[in-house]
Subunit: 196 residues, 2 copies
């Protein structure tokens, strides 16, 4: 994701999202404050409230932008990568990119804090997972139909399993500060779907 924090052509609202996004992905929604964001941008807390009335609205905006960007990345994969297995590898690569910035998936982090979130944020988090599941389901079904992938049961259940495995791999890899742990687990997960 682009660093817009020092780009004068980017509006304050976007730069707030950039800083807040990083803070949520590294510290959690309950682990950062308006003061943290304001200090980093060199403005005051009151300035933030002009752009986002409350933390809940800021949170919703974060998930909305993250979901759009992720959907765009998935569209990019559809357009540029051929073959179900290669697409899954590219999908895992998106996660690896996030992790390389010492970040957790935004919605994976928020999933942990789910019970403490305002309702609109909860729905948005699940919506993100739903979109990922739908994309994965399509790719998996494609791979099954052209016999480049093999798995039992529904594509949807397999998609859910892949999503959960990658989120978990990020979670643990980040605790150790070892992105290689993610790479290994992701490779294994995808390998389990390869034709035998």
């Amino acid at each position: 994701m682009a660093v817009t924090q020092d780009d004068p052509t980017v509006g304050t609202a976007e730069r707030i999202l950039d800083v807040a996004e990083r803070l949520v992905q590294t510290r959690g929604f309950n682990g950062f404050s308006y003061a943290d964001v304001a200090a980093e941008l060199g403005i005051t807390k009151a300035g933030l409230h002009y752009h986002y009335p409350g933390k809940a609205e800021l949170g919703e905006a974060l998930i909305a932008r993250y979901s759009v960007r992720f959907a765009e990345a998935l569209g990019q994969i559809d357009d540029t990568v051929r073959g179900a297995h290669a697409r899954l590898a590219a999908y895992a690569g998106l996660y690896a990119q996030v992790l390389s910035g010492d970040r957790m998936c935004l919605c994976g982090m928020l999933a942990a804090e789910h019970q403490t979130l305002p309702q609109p944020m909860r729905s948005a988090v699940n919506g993100f997972f739903d979109e990922n599941e739908a994309w994965l389901t399509r790719v998996l079904a494609q791979g099954k139909s052209d016999s480049t992938l093999s798995y039992d049961g529904s594509s949807r259940d397999a998609a859910r399993t892949v999503l959960a495995a990658l989120e978990g791999a990020m979670l643990v890899a980040r605790a150790y500060g070892e992105p290689a742990r993610f790479q290994s687990a992701a490779a294994r997960t995808l390998a389990s779907l390869a034709v035998s």
Copy 2:
């Protein structure tokens, strides 16, 4: 885990852990306060500080007790369950039990908040994962040697993948409030290790 909260034979220190544990597993370490625990136990915040000087010490005590109990449960499996596959299923059952109380794995939750935790808690969280990995590694190696399990690469890497997959499955299942999502993902993960 036993409910000691209303048992007069159980000391206050233990009951504090019971309440705090549930709060951390459901809301996160940054999502609960001494006031929450005190109110639920009917004592004052000052009373808590007598038993645990600060939130950091309380957190360390939580992980320590959780790790001991988990290790005991693993020992129980070793003693009562035969066969690598059945042991893995029992292991996943431990997670399912936690999830059935709408809780996340204590250390999975703390892993998300890792960057905000005091150093001793960070080490303890990773220690919990290390113990789990060691146990899983043993079970997987056993299954491979007696040909009841099949997987490529090192047992340690396979163990890490299983651990991460189960933690991720809990994380996502909890966001949806659907334990069945965990069951499905866990069953798939174990099935991928079965002999073909």
